[in-house]
């Protein structure tokens, strides 16, 4: 019982971190960023490269991965999203193409086989029969720290409030003198950073391989859809619903069924309540 609780909390924290970067883009740019999974991919591989190939300290590597994710987010905004502005279908399709391009770039640089990522903090603690690697614990704690920081940033800084304004009403925000382009770019940068950091944790949770971006993308999509577009609180709650559901299913039913329940949940919610459970189209 306690084991389920602990594993559920750890997995949910990670899912929340994965989903929140995706939520930001959807609520502000109203665009499905299908290349979001690729941030995780690039973040994971960047971390792998800096620690295990170059031998940098782990925290420096996480930081560098975050910087690369940030740069990637900005580049994508400047090169793809801005030129195609207004054409959602075109942006979504280009992001899908970009994701596949990045995946092949990774294959080209690191090969097709999967890599084992050394844990950020080695060691395992046994709690009530559950093995809790320090790495996962650290990932969950970091998720919470980052989410709270993001929440404070959006509520109380000038830029954060501008983001809120754009997400509610882009035209109105433009009239009040908010530079929507700048806000968009900052959002893409934050989203890229969050994605890359989430990628480091996700890769150490599972494994590092070129196709690893699809599963977190679907999780992000699931959390965001079920939680309601753009609601950070909703994202947090649903990350926990999905996280706990997966842990419960794999503990009490069968591990291979856990993805099925997630998909059925997404489809049911989308069809029955297209705006999500906590649907407000704002931050």
């Amino acid at each position: 019982m306690l084991q389920v609780l602990i594993q559920g909390l750890l997995l949910s924290g990670l899912y929340a971190l994965i989903a929140v970067g995706f939520t930001l883009i959807f609520s502000i740019g109203r665009v499905l960023n299908l290349a979001y999974g690729a941030y995780l991919l690039i973040g994971g591989y960047a971390y792998f490269y800096f620690t295990q190939a170059i031998g940098l300290p782990k925290f420096a590597a996480v930081l560098l991965a975050a910087v690369i994710g940030c740069a990637l987010g900005i580049l994508k905004f400047l090169l793809i999203v801005r030129p195609l502005r207004g054409n959602h279908v075109a942006i979504e399709i280009s992001t899908l193409i970009l994701a596949v391009v990045l995946q092949s770039a990774v294959v080209l640089a690191f090969g097709d086989s999967s890599k084992i990522l050394l844990p950020i903090i080695p060691g395992v603690e046994r709690v009530a029969g559950a093995a809790v690697p320090y790495s996962n614990l650290f990932a969950a704690v970091m998720s919470w720290v980052i989410l709270i920081a993001l929440w404070i940033f959006i509520r109380s800084t000038h830029t954060g409030r501008a983001m809120q304004a754009v997400s509610m009403d882009a035209k109105g925000a433009a009239i009040s003198g908010i530079d929507a382009d700048r806000v968009n770019m900052i959002t893409w940068a934050i989203s890229g950073t969050l994605g890359a950091v989430a990628g480091v944790f996700f890769a150490s949770y599972t494994q590092l391989y070129p196709g690893m971006w699809v599963a977190p993308l679907i999780i992000a999509v699931a959390v965001v859809i079920v939680g309601g577009i753009g609601s950070i609180i909703g994202t947090l709650i649903v990350a926990h619903i999905i996280g706990f559901m997966e842990v419960l299913v794999s503990t009490y039913l069968a591990p291979e069924l856990r993805g099925i329940f997630t998909m059925v949940l997404i489809i049911a919610i989308l069809v029955l309540r297209p705006r999500g459970l906590f649907g407000r189209e704002e931050l």
Binding site: I80, P83, I93, I97, V100, V107, I218, V221, M263, V271
Partner: protein, 313 residues
């Protein structure tokens, strides 16, 4: 329908070239062409739904998979003859797809794309877990009855399929139905404001698309003689279908064919230099650049340069 003499001339020329090909090209190229033919069928099927009505499906392998698995299971586990299993597979794809996706046709835009992606992933997980004695589980099935033997016969079979699909789609889309479907893609509210039941039109587009996907999927599986879930429900496969339709020219019938042949041969010509998945880097890059230059695809690029030429002379 506004058929002109040059329409006939172009179709006859196209059919003639396709059937003359085995005389001039190698067996290896024929095998590439077979894949291009199947990809063209899938891309046309995607285009009928997504290219025209603007309802982007990211889960088209879901439909292809229903057709492929139905026919594979019927022949392998229940000894159905191919003549029966393929039509049944097409029907099952249409009915099954409609039952699951009917509620999804209510929702618009990005949400529809997400539901279809979720369906594909669900199907991938289900075939591995539910009744693996029927579906072959993670490893899939092999040793299925095949329709033809040899590259040449396979080429004729796939070419006939592709041409039949292309010609019937082209004719159907030239009717007022085609105009109405394209109108949905441009402005759905204005279509319903013109007194047309948009939901029924989307359903017709979906059924036709599912029919082609089911037919293509069933024929493909009996060309290969095997089926593997990882290759079928793969995001790279979705990507190839969508990109073929888009860079050829979405919303047209010839566009997806051009796109399918262009992509298949691009991939094939890169093979000697880049044998692995790295080919997708070049291929994806080319697709991305082409798409950013002209979202309406190669067909539109050709059309524009032709009309420029005409104006110049």
């Amino acid at each position: 329908m506004g058929l002109r003499w040059y329409h006939f001339a172009l179709w006859i020329a196209f059919i003639g070239v396709m059937f003359a090909l085995p005389e001039y090209v190698s067996k290896g190229t024929l095998r590439t062409l077979i894949f291009a033919n199947f990809l063209a069928v899938f891309a046309i099927s995607w285009d009928v739904l997504s290219g025209r009505t603007g309802y982007i499906s990211f889960g088209h392998p879901f439909l292809i998979g229903i057709g492929a698995y139905t026919s594979a299971i019927l022949t392998k586990r229940f000894d159905f003859p191919l003549e029966a299993s393929i039509p049944i597979a097409v029907l099952v794809t249409m009915v099954g797809g409609l039952v699951v996706l009917l509620p999804a046709l209510r929702i618009r835009g990005s949400y529809f794309a997400l539901v279809t992606l979720a369906y594909m992933e669900l199907m991938y997980q289900l075939v591995q877990v539910i009744r693996p004695d029927l579906t072959g589980g993670t490893r899939g099935m092999s040793g299925l009855p095949t329709l033809t033997r040899g590259a040449e016969n396979g080429f004729y079979m796939s070419t006939c399929l592709m041409l039949a699909v292309a010609l019937s789609t082209w004719l159907l889309m030239r009717t007022r139905l085609g105009t109405a479907l394209s109108a949905i893609g441009m402005n759905e509210d204005a279509v319903s404001g013109s007194g047309l039941s948009v939901t029924r039109l989307k359903m017709v587009a979906f059924l036709f698309s599912a029919m082609l996907a089911g037919l293509g999927g069933a024929m493909y599986v009996h060309y290969l003689g095997s089926i593997a879930p990882r290759a079928l429900f793969d995001i790279n496969f979705v990507f190839t279908i969508i990109v073929a339709a888009l860079i050829g020219g979405a919303g047209t019938t010839i566009g997806p064919i051009i796109g399918a042949f262009f992509l298949t041969f691009l991939l094939e010509y890169l093979r000697p230099w880049l044998p692995g998945a790295e080919r997708y880097l070049i291929y994806g890059g080319v697709a991305l650049v082409l798409y950013m230059i002209q979202p309406k695809g190669i067909f539109e690029l050709v059309r524009q340069s032709l009309s420029k030429l005409r104006r110049a002379t």
